[in-house]
Amino acid sequence: MNDLLDDWGLTAAVFLPMVGAVVMLAIPRTEEALHKVIALVSSLAVLGVVVALIAEFDFDRTRTLQYEVDHSWIEVINSRYILGVDGIALPLLALTALIVPLVVIYSWNHFPEPHNPKAFLILTLVLETGMVGTFLAQDLILFFVFFELVLLPMYFMIGVWGGEQRQYASIKFFLFTLFGSALMIVSFLALYFLSPEVVVDGVARHTFDIRELTDWGGEGLARTTALFVFGGMFMGFGIKVPLFPFHTWLPDAHTQAPTQGSVILAAVLLKLGTYGFVRIAIPILPEAAEEWAPWIGLLAVIGIIYGALGCLAQTDMKRLIAFSSVAHMGYVMLGIATLTDFGVNAAIFGMVAHGLITGMLFFIAGSVKERYHTLEIKRLGGMLLQAPRMGWILGFACMASLGLPGLAGFWGEFPAILSAYNPGGDLDPALFRVYMVVAAIGTIFAAGYLLWLLQRVAFGTPKEEFSGERIHDLHLTDYLAWAPMLLLIVVLGVYPNLIFRVTDGAVIESLAAVGGG
């Protein structure tokens, strides 16, 4: 059993959803129930595999890649099929494996127009393959393929099942991200050609192997070259995060996407960018990272304040939540920009926490839309009276989102702010202390827009147009889909070591070249 897991565990996690998707292709679209079952089973199978992987994971060696597989793949360019999971990837793998089945469950009776569960679920499963693969890939080309694979299903999800502006939003999402990807692949190719050759099967060749490139660490690379190469990756990952000022695709994509799409987008897709920084950009080019870090930090704190102000200006609940992502990912990026183990740990925690919390908020927004047929904040009100459970969960999620201690959001936010006091490497502490204060002030704004949202949507009494209407409180599928997320938000908030213990070793390892601490 263990051998099987060692050799096939990660591959199974990546491709099981694809298997499900292929099976579904063969079944006529009228068999809706069957499609749902297959989608659920295959996503649950992934979750099962991931749980098994976690159970067998050696937590004393989080800094090394485990369950490694390494096979030749594209011989011509020496790109290899390398998968592996360490302490950095594991929490994100678990998050992805958890979110997808929950999305399938949530969808059960609530497929957005134009319905068609078959296509929708196939896309969801393809998406899962892309996301899981991105977190596990240890080869730049393989990473890139998975990274791009994510785009297509999301493009169709927004473009077909989205809101009124779906055409615009989906194209914008696609092109914007692709633009970043193009620059990113330039950097990957540059790394390929500029890094020294390594011996594979007795032949010295260039490599895309992330492990080899990390060992190399950009040694001997001219400073400007390194800065440009990092810059390419910065664009690719930064747009995905999204960092200010590359964020404008996000509110449109979120607002137009169907609920399920928004949840996946917020919970997992945004993390691909931040994960890229932690996994690829910083370990491979630590010196360039140090020079870029003050600018990344600057954009991060601008994003924190700017995103919050954007939230305050919103009249649409979903768009507000979308903008809040810009602010929250700002904290994650600030943690990364400090180049300290404390900060990067916080960033990874923040990724998971944001995935759960903002995913939850989008679920709620979707349910509100379904019941009230509007998300306009000024038309809503008194949700606690009409749908008390949903109202309380909204309150809970808002509190978690504003970083209340005892819930998960706090552990991504406070340590990130803390680490900015004493950044790693040769970064200027004075500058980062300014960032620290700005980021701390951002917490006021976060409380401001979230409480304001809560007050207008949940408190008070229902507006006249809805006062006579019976609003259905939670459905069974809502309970099933939301309970794990709510539970995790509390559990991680109370006992943060569940994640910190996993990431710490790997983060220290990945920052060894920066000398942060």
Partner: protein
Amino acid sequence: MLENAFLIPLVPAVSFVLILALGRRLPRGGSEIGVAALALVFVLSVGVGIGWVQRVNHPPEAPHATEAEEVAAAGPAAAEEPGEPGEEEHHETPPVVRTVTWFQSGGHEFTVGTMVDGLAAIMLLVVSIVSLLVHVYSTDYVAGDRRYTHFFAFLSLFTASMLMFVLTQSTLQLIVGWELVGLCSFVLIGHWWEEKPNSDAAVKAFLTNRVGDVGLLVGMIVLYFAADNSFDIIRINEMANAGEIRHLLLLVASCCLMAAVMSKSGQFILHTWLPDAMAGPTPVSALIHAATMVVAGVYMIARLYGVFWNGLSIGTSTLNLMAVIGAVTVVFGALLAFVQNDIKKVLAYSTISQLGYMVMALGVGAWTAGIFHLFTHAFFKACLFLGAGSLSHAVHSFDMVRDMGGMRRTMPTTYKTFLVGTLALMGLFPLAGFWSKDEILAGASQLGGEGGYRLMLVMGLIGALMTCAYMTRVLWYVFWGQPRGAAAMHTPHESGARITAPLVILAGLAVVAGFANLPDTGVFSFVPENLALRFEHFVEPTAAYFPGATDEAFGHPEFSITIALATLVLAAVAIGLAYAWFWRGAGPHGIATRNPAARAGYRLLENKYYLDHLYTGVVAGGTKGPLARATYWVDQHVIDGVVNLVGTASRRGGQWVYDNVDQRVVDTIVNGSGATAEGSGQLLRRQQTGKVQAYGAYLFAGATILAGIFVFIASAS
């Protein structure tokens, strides 16, 4: 029990979950769980108190000075090990610390745990007593409420958070507790959220506290790094006392933390949320906004006194931020109490003013006096708030000018207990407030080297005078005169036993609590040694984490008959003036409408110094309105404008290439060979018809070419 203090917050935490889960199905809506849990908490807290008293009386032999440092370095868990019996006599009682690992980051492990010393023990008692009485009181007061179960659930959660905060062992845990009590405050202020003013008050409380929290976060971060990556409270204090942290860092941290104190403990100018918080149910006001949560700031200062003492140079004759903030709050809070018609608002401003006393006491170096006042104030102010609740229970209004009057006849028990609470608040001999307030004033006059803190003494005396006057005003409006409004329309009757019993108990405590720290000097030299200064003896820490143990300059004020007489005379004057004004109708009534200067002053007070206009209107409104809208406009039109421009430009470019290059040049050249033209035309047409795959292919191809150029340049350079 000292080691197992973690059970104390755990009990109400479990109670919170149980009430939420089962409360509605129980005959008394979950309140029985809450009351039972609090009774248990009270017993456990008494156990801790007894345990601590025994520990002080029979202290474990403290390790030698050098060992003490090792203990600190090895982690506080070692401190609970009693050392070898030493030769010389020790007066040091080390705190009892127990920790578990919370999380690790950067190779460091961070702990969560409990730290019990005299300060924690006395706070446990205060919180558990008041909370228990408030629970009992609430079973009657909020009976039949629309969210009875929720109310008790959140009372439990609040109690758990507060107890956790009190027992905190690290600054990080302190932040957690601090925010959680804030959350409970938010939920309970907004308990009746259907009405907008209530939810407004709740949001305002939360946001104002968030402003202070920025100071809390930054201050704690500075301390964390100053103490070599540690959140440990004992370690931070010890390093501060030993001079191992640069003074500048301590000063910055102290100033940041003061912002947090200002918001949480209602100090001027971040106090504005506290009067609004009276929108919550009265038991909540008594528990959270008078006796416990609002003293969290005071408690934090006391807990981190090593930091503040050294950072703000308390104990030297220079004025410091803390003392000034406290003194200003004493007077400016009291002034506002005069213009309120809502009895709860009077009490709220009175709380602000009294909190000012506590902060001022800590600011002048009179640590024990400040904490002693916290202790006594909790009882008499809770008594007053609950009394106000009892009154409103009868007349369904808090407006003492329109709806009360003459109620001493109809509600005798409430009247008597309220009177006792009032006299204690006024600081009349021999009630609780007299002892604690006098100790603070004595501290202001005696500590701080030559001259002492004269300004603080004067402000304190003015505050005492005003307290007596505005409380006499309350007594007049509520209990004397003719019944008005609601009180006249239906005869109010005394509340039930579950309301009056807590009142009587709290009134009793308001009488006797002051004897906990009887002075033993001056006219009180007859007090036997084992009865005098018990509070100071048991509560004030004696170990190296407290400046009193390390700094010569740390002093204790002695009882001063001059100050005691002065306050009593001032009290008599104030009560006399108020008596003359209200009972006899003497004095320039209506001056506020006749005299322009008086009118301006009255308007200033009525508008609460216009601070609310500044915060709500200018700061919050400005951010929410123009600033946010401007940002969003920039976002949509400038940043997104660029994005759309690029998109449009590329499409136009494609169109242009198609029209001019493809159709004219290429087509002309290959005129006749239609197949080729169509092929390239197809290619470009696809580009501008939004076929995503085509875009992708182009970008990919472009990227590869770029990469080639790039590598070429790089290898050439």
